[in-house]
Subunit: 326 residues, 2 copies
């Protein structure tokens, strides 16, 4: 399936469209010694975004563009999500005075379902994983006619996510490599669309759900099994086609980490920065901690910390301020 | 007791001395609607500092200056602390290859004691509040000769804390008013020393331990009773004399909030930013939420979020993403 490529211009347009509806999230230096890494890094704290993940960017861009085009029906918005995108859609709906229905899989944490409901959306829990919830949302949407806000398979969503890299450009004075967690591929495709060939973009996935690595290996999106601690945010069975059209051109590599690596990265972010980071949000850092990605000595690496929605009890632990070395 | 005033030049010298040993902590915009406030504010996220509070700044400046002067004995460092300063001293000792003894009151949370020990300092728990621990530390220091690193009653400590306001100057393009939590007064004095008369500096204290407000009312530091949820970080019985010498010249006002206001500010910071903020760290924001401090319509306010060391279970709560209005 051929898709029109999402390009830097689309990301620019997205940034103009969403404006101050999303937060400019800060960066902070992560010293090699603190994080147990071979090099200092910059952390982009996208987990401080509205609803605790980058998802508000893509959702706002998609819905605002549809509103501009007069494409939002009275039935409002509909989406499926492991949870973060659902929160973002619920937030966008509330901000714009729309109604929203969100389909989440039974395997997603209660925290996420409850937050979507607290934001005012109607929540439907579907047995299975994200893809099962998407099937249910698509069926329901065909009946209601609500605007489908896909978590990654839409050009406006991908372009919206890319505003993270665009913002980073203004915050970090030159860097070589961006480490980005990947699920369905919308987030990394957005960054790659903005960055193009100017810097390295490296995807990081759980070995338990690695549809990006598999797509690169097979030369096309291919269905994979999905499990593991980060499945609620990164557990897409198949890379999106729109994502793939960008990824195949502009993503330099994809590496995989295991669940222990992800838990370890969550722990160090808590110990050193007191940040509550969900598994998917810590996955990019896990690549450095586990040496799945080994930077050159002088390589300037930015790591996106992209989500926070989890029970803090799963992250924070007492007696935790040791300087851990990876 | 007359003290040489701490001035902006001292803060400059501190910034040069401590350099990159402390983190440049980021700022983020806090939208009025998100935070339930009458105006948009900027949050200075000093809770992302090493050991989770601003205290590393003052402790580094004090100890590095003493090292330069050849004043650090083999017995190392000694300090009393409600916890945050103790963590900072333990961190500084570890970074500089020194030993440290830290006296904490029995009323401080276990989280803090455990983190100090995990950083390698010897911890002594003293019945009572911070001031009781300080008495014990002073007695012990008289025997060992270790360098006393006071949490606020030292010019180098005050100057070090002031590097927050200095850093802020480079991050925020003009603002009118800085809201700062106050305990023994070292932190607010540091900010006021840097800012002088150029902007408003307003202190915020728990009504249950308000030695700053009391000093302003009485025209001198005066002993007060100490209790409440933030006593472990803001619970000094009497404003420091060095702090007072700065505060009386450059602090514009001090307002008080109650424990419910503080808990409410912790909750909104978790709901809206997923930040785990301890009571003392949320106290400055509490002044805005509770209307203890009411800004002018066009007033540009910066709020320092200055500490994170608490059990996240006391902050995070499920079903928590409502937009709360203060």
């Amino acid at each position: 399936m051929s898709q029109p490529l999402v390009l830097a211009d689309d990301v620019d347009a997205a940034a103009r469209r969403i404006g101050s509806r999303v937060r400019r999230t800060p960066v902070i230096s992560g010293r090699a010694a603190d994080l147990g890494l071979p090099v200092d890094v910059v952390l982009k704290l996208e987990l401080l975004q509205h609803t605790g993940s980058f998802k508000a960017r893509g959702a706002f861009n998609r819905v605002l563009a549809a509103l501009d085009a007069g494409e939002v029906p009275v039935s409002g918005l509909i989406a499926a999500s492991g949870g973060n995108h659902g929160m973002a859609v619920a937030h966008v709906a509330r901000e714009l005075g729309l109604s929203a229905e969100v389909f989440v899989p039974s395997t997603s944490p209660a925290t996420k379902r409850e937050r979507i409901a607290a934001l005012g959306a109607d929540v439907f829990v579907i047995d299975g994983l994200y893809d099962d919830a998407q099937v249910a949302a698509d069926e329901r949407g065909a009946v209601t006619g609500a605007l489908a806000v896909h978590p990654y398979e839409h050009r406006a969503v991908v372009a919206g996510q890319g505003t993270v890299a665009r913002e980073l450009e203004e915050q970090v004075d030159g860097y070589d490599t961006l480490l980005v967690a990947a699920g369905g591929g919308g987030f990394i495709a957005g960054q790659a669309a903005w960055i193009g060939d100017r810097r390295r973009v490296v995807g990081v996935e759980p070995v338990a759900s690695c549809c990006l690595r598999t797509a690169l290996d097979h030369g096309r999106p291919t269905a994979v099994e999905v499990s593991g601690v980060a499945a609620d945010s990164l557990g897409a069975k198949r890379l999106g086609d729109i994502a793939w059209s960008v990824v195949r051109r502009f993503v330099d590599d994809a590496v995989v980490v295991d669940d222990d690596d992800i838990r370890d990265a969550q722990r160090v972010l808590w110990d050193q920065f007191r940040l509550v980071v969900e598994p998917g949000g810590a996955t990019a850092l896990a690549a450095l901690r586990s040496a799945a990605f080994v930077p050159e000595a002088a390589e300037r690496v930015v790591v996106i910390v992209c989500g926070s929605n989890c029970d803090p009890a799963t992250v924070a632990h007492r007696n935790s301020h040791q300087h851990e070395q990876g």
